[in-house]
C-alpha cells in the first residue's frame, strides 16, 4: 500500500495497539488533534482517551511518566514534537530509562518508545531543525532508529514498540508527507540493528540515514562509478557487519549526514570502519556533512545547508577517481574566513 510516512506511523501505532493492550501513546496534541504532524490520526477515536493522551507542555513530566508506566506494565509511546525538546527532558531518557534495568538488577525494564521529529527542510529555524543523534550516543541501554521513509517508519516503529528496551525513533520531519509503498503487517517489521542495502555497486559504499538516504540514492544516478547504498536505519546499535562487509568489497566509505561536520553522527561509523576495515580501504572515509553552523531558516540557505545529491556525486567523483577527499563546499567557497 502506498502511504505517506505519517500515515505509515499511524498504522504502525494502531497495529501494535490492537495487538497489545499495554501500548499507550502520549504527547502534546497527539490525541484530539491527531498529532501536530498527523502521525496519530484516528487513534483517539479507535482506542479512546485512556490509551491516547494529550499532555501538558511538560516533556520531563510525561517522558518521566512513560518511564514509570513502562516499568510497571505499559508500553508507552511518547511523542516529542521536535527533537530539541528532549533538551528539557533528556534526564528521563538517558539517565533514568536507559539505566532502569541495570539499576533494578533486571527486575524493572523501561520498554518505552520516544518518537521525535527531527531535521531540516521545512523552515523551522535554528531551534527546531536539528537531528541531535549524539545526545543519545554513549548511552548503554538505549537504542536509536531513524526511518528513511514510510516503509521503514512502519517497520521500525513497530519493532521499537516490541523491544524490551527504551528505543528512540527519530523521524525526519520532511518525510512525513512523502509517499512510499509500505508492507503492512508482521512482515513489514524491521529488526532493530539491521541496515538495508538499497543499491548494489562496486566502487564505493554510501551510507545514509533518514532523509540523506534519498540523497545518497539520487547521487548514484548517471555516474562513472557504482555504489552500494546502505540505509543505516538503526544508529544505536548500527549494522557493523553489513557496512564492513560492503566496505571490504568496495574499498571506499562515504557517509552522507544531516549533521554538522564536528561531532555529527557519522563519526561513530567512520571511526569504527576506518579501524575495522583499515587494510581494505583504498581511500579515506569521506563524511559528507552539513557545515558547522546552526540550521538557517530561509529556504535557499536551508537547502544549501544540507548535502544535495549533486554535491554528493561530485564529492564521490573525486574520491573514486583520486582516492582522495575533496574539500567541503564551505572550505572551497572560503566561507569560514
Amino acid at each position: 500500500m502506498k502511504l505517506r510516512m505519517r500515515q505509515a506511523i499511524a498504522h504502525a501505532l494502531a497495529d501494535e495497539m490492537r495487538q497489545d493492550a499495554r501500548v499507550i501513546i502520549m504527547g502534546e496534541d497527539i490525541a484530539a488533534a491527531g498529532g501536530p504532524f498527523k502521525t496519530s490520526e484516528g487513534l483517539l477515536e479507535e482506542f479512546g482517551p485512556n490509551r491516547v493522551r494529550d499532555t501538558p507542555i511538560s516533556e520531563m513530566g510525561f517522558l518521566g511518566a512513560a518511564v514509570g508506566a513502562a516499568a510497571t506494565g505499559l508500553r508507552p509511546v511518547v511523542e516529542i514534537m521536535f527533537v530539541e525538546f528532549l533538551g528539557v527532558a533528556l534526564d528521563q531518557l538517558v539517565t533514568e530509562a536507559a539505566k532502569f534495568r541495570y539499576l533494578s538488577g533486571g527486575a524493572y525494564g523501561a520498554p518505552l518508545v520516544v518518537r521525535a521529529s527531527v531535521g531540516s527542510g521545512l523552515g523551522f529555524g535554528a531551534q527546531h531543525s536539528q537531528t541531535l543523534e549524539t545526545w543519545l550516543y554513549a548511552t548503554p541501554g538505549l537504542k536509536l532508529v531513524v526511518p528513511s521513509g514510510a516503509r521503514t517508519a512502519y517497520g521500525l516503529v513497530r519493532a521499537a514498540i516490541r523491544d524490551e528496551n527504551p528505543v528512540a525513533v527519530f523521524e525526519p520531519r520532511v518525510l512525513y508527507a512523502e509517499r512510499e509503498e509500505v508492507v503492512l503487517g508482521e512482515s513489514g517489521i524491521i529488526p532493530i540493528g539491521t541496515g538495508e542495502i538499497l543499491n548494489k555497486g562496486n566502487d564505493v559504499t554510501i551510507v545514509g540515514l533518514g532523509q540523506t538516504v534519498g540523497t545518497a540514492l539520487a547521487a548514484t544516478q548517471s555516474t562513472t562509478w557504482t555504489a552500494d547504498v546502505i540505509d543505516l536505519r538503526s544508529l544505536i546499535p548500527w549494522d557493523r557487519e553489513m557496512v564492513c562487509e560492503s566496505v571490504a568489497r568496495t574499498g571506499r566509505l562515504v557517509l552522507v549526514e544531516e549533521s554538522p561536520f564536528s561531532g555529527g553522527w557519522g563519526t561513530e561509523i567512520a571511526s569504527y570502519v576506518a579501524s575495522e576495515c583499515f587494510s581494505e580501504l583504498k581511500a579515506p572515509v569521506l563524511r559528507i556533512t552539513c557545515p558547522d553552523v546552526p540550521v538557517p531558516y530561509p529556504p535557499h540557505l536551508e537547502k544549501r545547508f544540507l548535502p544535495s545529491s549533486e554535491y554528493v556525486r561530485e564529492q564521490i567523483d573525486v574520491l573514486v577517481s583520486t582516492n582522495k577527499r575533496d574539500q567541503p563546499w564551505w572550505v572551497k567557497g572560503g566561507y569560514l574566513s
Binding site: 499532555t55 507542555i57 520531563m60 523551522f124 538557517p296 530561509p298 535557499h300 540557505l301
Partner: protein, 340 residues
C-alpha cells in the same frame, strides 16, 4: 551591543523613535493596528505559499504588547517566544526588520537566518526570542540578575503563554527570581490555548496567577484586552522590581483570534468562543476610549486604518524586492574569535 556606538548614539534610531511614540495614545492605537494588519498579512503570505516555515500570529493580544512597551524603558530587557511579532513591533522594531526576518531577507532583524520565531533587537532590549516553550523565563531572570549585580536601574520582562506555565523552566525561573528578589516581571498571556489544547485539558488551575503563591510572589490578574489595564499592572510590577521589591507574576487574560500557527484553523474551539472574545477586541475598545476622550475622531480613525493598510502593502512589496540573506550569512555570528 549594537546601538551603543557610532551613528546610533547621535541620531535616534528608528526603533527608539517608534518606541517613544508610544507616549502618545493615538500612536498606541496606531501601533496596535499595525500589528493587527501586519499579522493578517503574514497569515495571507503563508497561505499564499510566499513564506516558508511556520509562524504564530498575535491578533487579539495586541493590548498586552502595547501595555508592556509603553511602560518599559528601551534599556529594559524583554524575553519572548515564537509568538513575538507583536511584542517586537510594539517595542519599536520596524516592520521591515520583522517582515524581513520572516522572509529571510538580509534586512531582517538578525539578517534573515532566524525566521518568524527568532527576532531580536538589542537597541530596544529584545533578547533572542526562544522557540522552546519556557526557554525565555529563566533567561529573563538572568537579565534581571545582571541588573541587580551591576546595580543598574534595569528590569527584565518575560512574556510567555498559559501553556508555558506547565513547564519546569517556569517553576525554576520563578522560584529563583523570588529567592533572589530579582527585578523581573513575568507576564503570562493567558490566551486560553496551548497549541490545540484548551487550558483546562492541560493545566490544573484556571488562573495561572494562582501559581504565584508557590513562590510567595505578588500577582495580578489583568484584563489583557485593555491597554491601560495592562500598562498599569506592568507599571506597578516594574516599579516594584526597580525599587528592590522583587518579581511579580502578571496574568493577562486574552485570546488569540487565529489558530496556533500557520497550519491551524482553530477548529477545536467551542462554537461562539471566538465571537464572545471579538466583542472585546482590544483595538476596538481602545478606539472607543480614545474617541470618548476626544483624542480621536471616527474619521481620523478610518484614515489611520487605511494608511496602515497601505503601509503594510508597501512594506510587503519592499521586503519582497529586497535581497535574500546570502550564503555567507549562515556562517556569521556563530562564535567570536574563530569558529569551532
Amino acid at each position: 551591543m549594537v546601538g551603543k556606538g557610532g551613528l546610533l548614539v547621535m541620531i535616534k534610531s528608528q526603533q527608539l523613535q517608534r518606541r517613544e511614540s508610544l507616549n502618545d495614545p493615538v500612536s498606541r492605537w496606531d501601533r496596535m493596528l499595525e500589528i493587527r494588519y501586519f499579522e493578517d498579512r503574514i497569515k495571507e503570505l503563508f497561505a499564499e505559499g510566499l513564506v516558508h516555515g511556520t509562524t504564530h500570529t498575535y491578533q487579539g493580544q495586541e493590548a498586552i504588547a502595547i501595555g508592556i512597551a509603553m511602560t518599559l524603558r528601551p534599556t529594559d530587557n524583554v524575553c519572548c517566544t515564537y509568538r513575538s511579532h507583536g511584542i517586537a513591533l510594539a517595542l519599536g522594531m520596524t516592520t521591515d526588520s520583522v517582515l524581513g526576518e520572516i522572509m529571510g531577507r538580509a534586512i531582517g532583524s538578525i539578517g534573515g537566518v532566524g525566521g518568524s520565531m527568532h527576532l531580536s533587537d538589542a537597541s530596544i532590549g529584545l533578547l533572542p526570542t526562544s522557540a522552546i516553550v519556557g526557554g525565555g523565563i529563566p533567561v529573563a531572570a538572568g537579565a534581571a540578575l545582571s541588573a541587580q549585580v551591576l546595580g543598574e536601574d534595569r528590569c527584565a520582562v518575560a512574556v510567555f503563554g498559559d501553556g508555558a506555565s506547565n513547564i519546569g523552566a517556569f517553576h525554576e525561573g520563578l522560584n529563583l527570581a523570588s529567592v533572589w528578589k530579582l527585578p523581573v516581571v513575568f507576564i503570562c498571556e493567558n490566551n486560553v490555548y496551548g497549541e490545540y489544547s484548551r487550558i483546562n485539558l492541560t493545566t490544573s488551575v484556571e488562573d495561572i496567577s494562582i501559581r504565584a503563591e508557590s513562590y510567595s510572589m505578588p500577582t495580578e490578574i489583568i484584563d489583557g484586552q485593555s491597554v491601560d489595564k495592562v500598562a498599569q499592572g506592568v507599571a506597578r510590577a516594574v516599579e516594584r522590581a526597580r525599587s528592590g521589591g522583587g518579581p511579580t507574576l502578571l496574568e493577562c487574560k486574552t485570546y488569540r483570534y487565529s489558530g496556533h500557527s500557520r497550519a491551524d484553523a482553530g477548529l477545536y474551539r467551542p462554537a461562539g468562543e471566538l465571537e464572545e472574545w471579538l466583542k472585546r477586541d482590544p483595538i476596538d475598545l481602545y478606539e472607543a476610549q480614545l474617541i470618548e476622550a476626544g483624542l480621536l475622531s471616527k474619521e481620523r480613525a478610518q484614515t489611520i486604518r487605511q494608511e496602515i493598510q497601505e503601509r503594510i502593502a508597501q512594506l510587503v512589496e519592499r521586503v519582497m524586492a529586497s535581497p535574500l540573506a546570502d550564503v555567507s550569512a549562515m556562517f556569521r555570528n556563530i562564535s567570536i574569535g574563530g569558529g569551532q
